[in-house]
Amino acid sequence: MAKRESKLVSKIDINMTPMIDVVFQLLTFFMLTLKSVVVEGDFNIRMPLGASAGAAEENPIPPIILKMTATPEGYLSGVLVGNKPVVDQALIGELQAAGGAIEAAFAGGVEGRAKRVAAARKTMEAATGTLVQAIQARILDTFGNDLSQAELTELELDCDPGLKYEYVIGAINAASGVVKGDQVVPLIQKIKFSPPKKAK
């Protein structure tokens, strides 16, 4: 008995080949489908339903109106807070050039497009950063030192319909928080778009 058992056990040999084949297939599949996840964030915007709902709600603090005008190509041509211009012509030129660079990066061939776009976006980000600071300085000005007012205040974005969305996000970025070191001090939380003007 003992002899037979030991003989059987020592002879068992599992064929590993199919398993390793499958395992490597799986490994290759997961490696190839790996994609770096881009971290995304949200901006809440408050768009009450219908004009009547908006009118019924009384807000003691008047909204800040941020007006952004566009060139026919959709580049930013002016930023006004409460009808006063915020940025000088030099920065506007810089922002327009950055927008044009992004456009050009997309227009070129597929070859190396991602790299060109990334480079163009860097320029845009730098220019938008200056814009953000200018808008922020103006908004902080209106509040003085009382930032608690900011949370109650509403920001209304009055943009030309042709304006590129990138600039709008820049403005919302400026209005919704100040970056101080590692922290974000929240500013205006109620952001909405102006009702559209009737096309003539």
Partner: protein
Amino acid sequence: MAKRKSVGSVDIDMTPMIDVTFQLITFFMFTLNFSEAVQDQRVQLPTSQVAKPVENSDIEPLTLQLMDDGRVIYNGEPVALAALGDYLENEKSVMLAANKEPAAATVVVRADGRSKTGDVQQIIRNCQEKGFDKFVLRAEYRGR
């Protein structure tokens, strides 16, 4: 030829290799991005430093992606902005059938940085007409 026979019984110990391979598989499985359909490469989001982290609500948000040419990606297919109303109507009836109010769902607008602001506003207006009224604008988060 005769020599080969004696070599034939060499056994490689597979255990460490299989251990490592399974570890790798597990790693790649967990890092697999399931939200791929939502992060569409056809849309290049603008960047921001202060965007709030994405909140997960219990109701599936409705994601509308606006491409730079003004078309909207709905269920992975680009549709004209003018036709969006019909798709939203569809979405609304599905929600109502499941006993959910459209107003409870968040509409996530992922718009390309080069798209027109007017188009974004048009999307919002279309959604409002169908009863959706919570909106978030999505941007790519850039660390400071």
